[in-house]
């Protein structure tokens, strides 16, 4: 309605007002908001452009949610028949015998152990380093250095994960072998450092995988931590300085309390990434039929690497269903970890300045 009015009026002003070219552009703009009170109906004036853009934006939002829900539904529907045919306990068994669709026996315990152990080990290594890098970049580094250094850290995220896998298996594993052996020999009495299901010097174990994962999630944690640390109110920092705080004490009394929950949230995001990492771990971890000894010197497969390795057997619905059931567990756990991360991150800074 308003569209037609505007297009009718547009040519008018030159005829009525004459010369002033400003009126030709201003008149319709000024009139549009004035129109509603004059019209008898309470109809809101909605521009066609606004309407199109709003539907596009809403559509995109709905699309994403639909896709996620559809993936979840797909996983669930395809997993159920296999779970019904499963002869082992899905949650408590470590077996993975899926070759014969008439005799399925699979469970997630071993996969869960390798997945969780490598991810948690990666987190333990990456969190302090990422926190240190973020503090260095925001509080200590001179500005000229902080920027390029930050880019380099971000660049770590751009390296393809298969490269990380090759690097981990061919370069890192031989280098850290003495460390692994030393830990196994001297701290072997601590269960996680005990003998694994492959020799500690094999290199293709959770120990190597965790270190590689740590490097891979470093840029994610660093990026989030850098953002929250940089948002520390300057008034807080100056308040601490004026009380006679040293640089480190400023960090301890203001920057860290302010950014802590954001840092934890970023770490959870990193954990989500580590849980789902596939190719690098497929390259690094050797496969073994022996179950895990619950040591970081275990080899085996994670959810994701198990699925990737199994693609050759995807020849009947029940076998595929078993892998999809494992995928569903991974989907739910990464979803939960990411949701937790977002929640922690968004609640950070609340109730503060």
């Amino acid at each position: 309605m308003s569209e037609s009015r505007n297009s009718e009026r547009r040519p008018d002003p030159p005829g009525e007002v004459g010369d002033a070219p400003v009126n030709t552009t201003e008149a319709p703009v000024l009139e549009a908001p004035v129109t509603p009170p004059n019209t008898p109906t309470d109809k809101k004036v909605v521009r066609i452009g606004d309407r199109i853009f709003r539907s596009l934006a809403t559509g995109s939002g709905v699309f994403v949610v639909t896709i996620i829900a559809a993936i979840g539904l797909f996983l669930l529907i395809r997993a159920i028949p296999a779970l019904q045919a499963n002869e082992a306990n899905f949650l408590l068994s470590g077996k993975w015998e899926t070759g014969d669709p008439d005799d399925l026996a699979f469970g997630i315990v071993d996969l869960a152990w390798i997945t969780v152990a490598s991810s948690i080990f990666a987190l333990v290594l990456a969190m302090p380093v990422a926190g240190g890098i973020a503090l260095f970049l925001t509080q200590y580094a001179p500005r000229v250095l902080a920027r390029p250094f930050g880019y380099i850290v971000d660049l770590l995220a751009a390296v393809p994960s298969v490269i990380y896998g090759l690097w981990g298996a061919l370069v890192l594993a031989p280098v850290i072998k003495p460390v692994a052996v030393w830990l196994n020999t001297n701290l072997g009495w601590i269960p996680v450092f005990g003998d694994g299901n492959v020799p500690a010097d094999s290199g293709s174990n959770v120990f190597t995988a965790g270190i590689v994962l740590a490097v891979m999630i470093l840029p994610i944690i660093t990026g989030v931590a850098r953002e929250v640390f940089a948002r520390t109110p300057n008034a807080q920092i100056e308040g601490a300085l004026a009380l006679g705080a040293t640089k480190w004490e400023v960090v301890r009394t203001t920057v860290w309390p302010f950014g802590r929950s954001g840092f934890v949230g970023g770490s959870m995001l990193g954990l989500g990434r580590a849980l789902g990492e596939t190719v690098a771990l497929t390259v690094i971890l050797s496969y073994t039929y022996e179950g895990p000894h619950y040591s970081i010197f275990d080899a085996g497969a994670t959810f994701a690497s198990r699925i990737a390795l199994g693609s050759a057997e995807f020849n009947n619905n029940l076998t595929v269903g078993a892998y999809i059931a494992a995928g569903l567990v991974l989907f739910i756990s990464t979803f939960a970890v990411n949701a937790l991360a977002r929640w922690i991150e968004s609640s950070s800074g609340k109730g503060k300045e």
Partner: protein, 258 residues
């Protein structure tokens, strides 16, 4: 406690920008000195240079001397952290540490200085909060976060925090500019009490406030845009407000500015 400050030929820079030129003045012990002047004249910059907070801004530079009872705080080998422990500061916007309780806020400076004795910390908390006229209002919620207080209470909490370490000098950078008149009055009363024990320097945009609380007043001005700020004159507050010796001072005070 309560030492005098002598500022000699102080020049302050931000990178190449000459912010304040050749300031020389004396701040007497156990008295209130007010810095007044138009925005951008450098009075806050001078204040921040007294406890070496000016140099926190990247690219800033200081020339000249600031003598605390005869000892130059800019002498080589002097630790700025130590200077800030003996010259306290209260900011324009109250900035209690939001994650700390009221009590932890008050004793934050003491804890930084390594004081661990719980009994002593409790005593100092009460003494400082009483000194800041805040004790009665917060004594039942010392373990609640300081961010839950009103703006005026937060500012008095910051004053308690600054006085808990018993500094030689207390600097106040427009401490009332974000407060309502009643909270302002509370702070002004507090300043009058604090000057019995402390040397106080206060920057204010409010000339009535300067006239009410200070013993001597320093007027800073900007001769022209882009030129460094200067100290026009300093004198007893009564004289500056009734009979200033410089025309620029008289113009500013009477509102005929520029």
């Amino acid at each position: 406690m309560a030492k005098r400050l002598d500022i000699e030929n102080l020049n302050l820079y931000y990178n190449k920008f000459h912010a304040v030129q050749d300031v020389t003045l004396q701040v007497h012990a156990r008295s209130v000195t007010a810095f007044i002047g138009p925005s951008g004249c450098g009075k806050s910059t001078v204040l921040r240079s007294l406890n070496r907070m000016h140099e926190v801004v990247p690219g800033s530079r200081v020339e000249g001397k600031v003598l605390l009872d005869g000892e130059n705080v800019y002498a080589p080998g002097v630790d700025p952290v130590q200077v800030r422990r003996t010259i306290g500061m209260v900011f324009q916007k109250a900035n209690p540490f939001p994650t700390m309780s009221i009590k932890d806020n008050v004793v934050a400076g003491l804890k930084l200085a390594g004081e661990k004795d719980k009994k002593k910390l409790d005593e100092i908390t009460e003494r400082s909060l009483r000194g800041a006229n805040l004790w009665e209002e917060v004594k039942d919620r010392l373990n609640k976060p300081g961010g839950g207080l009103s703006g005026g209470q937060q500012q008095r909490l910051c004053i308690a925090r600054a006085t808990a370490v018993q500094p030689d000098v207390l600097l106040m950078d427009e401490p009332c500019s974000a407060l309502d008149p009643i909270s302002t009055l509370a702070i002004e009363d507090l300043i009058a009490e604090l000057k019995k024990d402390y040397t106080i320097v206060i920057v204010t945009h409010n000339m009535q406030q300067a006239a009410r609380v200070s013993d001597q007043t320093a007027f800073f001005n900007l001769p022209a845009v882009g030129e460094p700020g200067q100290l026009v004159e300093i004198g007893e507050t009564g004289k500056i407000f009734s009979n200033p010796s410089q025309k620029a001072t008289e113009d500013y005070i009477s509102g005929r500015f520029g």
